[in-house]
Symmetry: C2
Subunit: 246 residues, 2 copies
């Protein structure tokens, strides 16, 4: 235990990535409070002062702290105690090991870029799963709906009951995108006796496109494909499937 | 590499918790797609087939898969490739190591219970941070508002502009809780010329409490303190603070 404590202490001082496996219990007091009874787990403390406690099953940590904790280690009787403290808000996590299986301190270097990609189709799916990406209260009715002269990406209703047609672009939207959206308005107006809003959704707008939108009375909503990819990645697969089999 | 591959293979077969540290790149295709360039990271594969890739900073994994992936390992030239596949939805993650720092396979046993605790005050804070815990479109106006003969827990507006008063209990709500809520209605009605809704929020209702609520025209919303604790735990601290200093 004393040897492990010395290694852990050195890891904290050297801002290494610390991995400890063993039997522990965890006590947390802060934004809420929690108690985790004894069991065999992984403790990971990163160089930025973030903390994770992982059980042998489940992709979510059972305890975690964001970056910025200050750690120290001490021996208390037969136990080794890792103590993490954050100041704002005041948070306190204590991981107490009664038995150790592994202690490892690594200096990891990682400058690799992470690139998340979503297709236009992925963006549609993300909006269907999380309609508030368009706006609060938006309710999708259908997607890829056939409306001569083509297909409307997403077709829905806003919180005031107005019909909303949505055109999605995954890159900077051009004037062509605006005209593509505009051409659906008259055919739909001819069929339904309701107010219609047309919303162009894209990560950004090309030159003079904003002016064209205003002139034509259309709306614009910024949406980054990366945000959509994250929504898709975070949404449990079962939810996605239940939507698409409805 | 060959030795490491054999150990990893054995870990997968024996459903152990696998920890690999080293230089890797990660490619994912599934609900979206992503590429992570070369860098030094931790790979964790759990006994339930969940996967985590952790960079040396940040509490969130850069790549993750829920339980149910099937893994295999192979040597390709100078590299070691860990390949995880999920069927529904089809997902594919490949972690390719060019250099290994550590490989560890552990049999972890963990039956310890996790207890998350939130006080009534924590529940108020969770509702203020995430008003949809009450209902979609709910907007809190103030909390612990003094209204003779006491204090209203949370005071807000619903999506139709009706005034809502909320009484929160962290345990099974008794008839006393209903009467406590009811006594605020008349004093508030006497002051404002608007429709008022009164909502009792608790994890459950005691015997005959439902009937009393209906008789008195009050509403009930189930809310588990654990859910509130999770909301507080997941909300970035900065957000919480900015709310309370406003």
């Amino acid at each position: 235990m004393a040897e492990a404590a010395a290694l852990i202490d050195k890891a904290f001082a050297g801002r290494r990535t610390l991995i400890v496996a063993g039997t522990c219990h965890v006590h947390y007091v802060g934004r809420a409070s929690s108690n985790l009874e004894n069991g065999e787990r992984l403790l990971i403390v990163k160089s930025d002062g973030s903390l994770l406690v992982h059980r042998p099953v489940g992709h979510e940590p059972v305890n975690w702290q964001p970056a910025g904790c200050v750690f120290h280690v001490q021996i208390k009787g037969d136990e080794l105690e890792v103590h993490g403290i954050r100041q704002k808000p005041r948070e306190n996590v204590k991981v107490t090991f009664s038995h150790l299986l592994m202690v490892s301190a690594l200096s990891l270097e990682d400058a690799g870029e992470f690139l998340l990609h979503a297709s236009e189709d992925d963006m549609h799916r993300a909006i269907l799963l999380k309609p508030e990406l368009i706006e609060e209260g938006f309710k999708p009715i259908s997607w890829e709906k056939k409306v001569e002269p083509g297909f409307v990406d997403i077709y829905g209703e806003d919180k005031n009951g107005k019909l909303v047609i949505v055109e999605v672009k995954r890159k900077t939207a051009s004037k062509e995108a605006v005209l593509q959206l505009a051409k659906y308005i008259e055919p739909i107006k001819a069929k339904v006796n309701r107010e219609i809003r047309a919303v162009l959704v894209a990560p950004s707008l090309g030159k003079d496109v904003q002016r064209l939108l205003v002139t034509m009375g259309l709306e614009y909503k910024t949406l980054d494909p990366k945000v959509c990819a994250e929504v898709l990645k975070k949404t449990e697969s079962t939810k996605l499937e239940s939507f698409f089999t409805e």
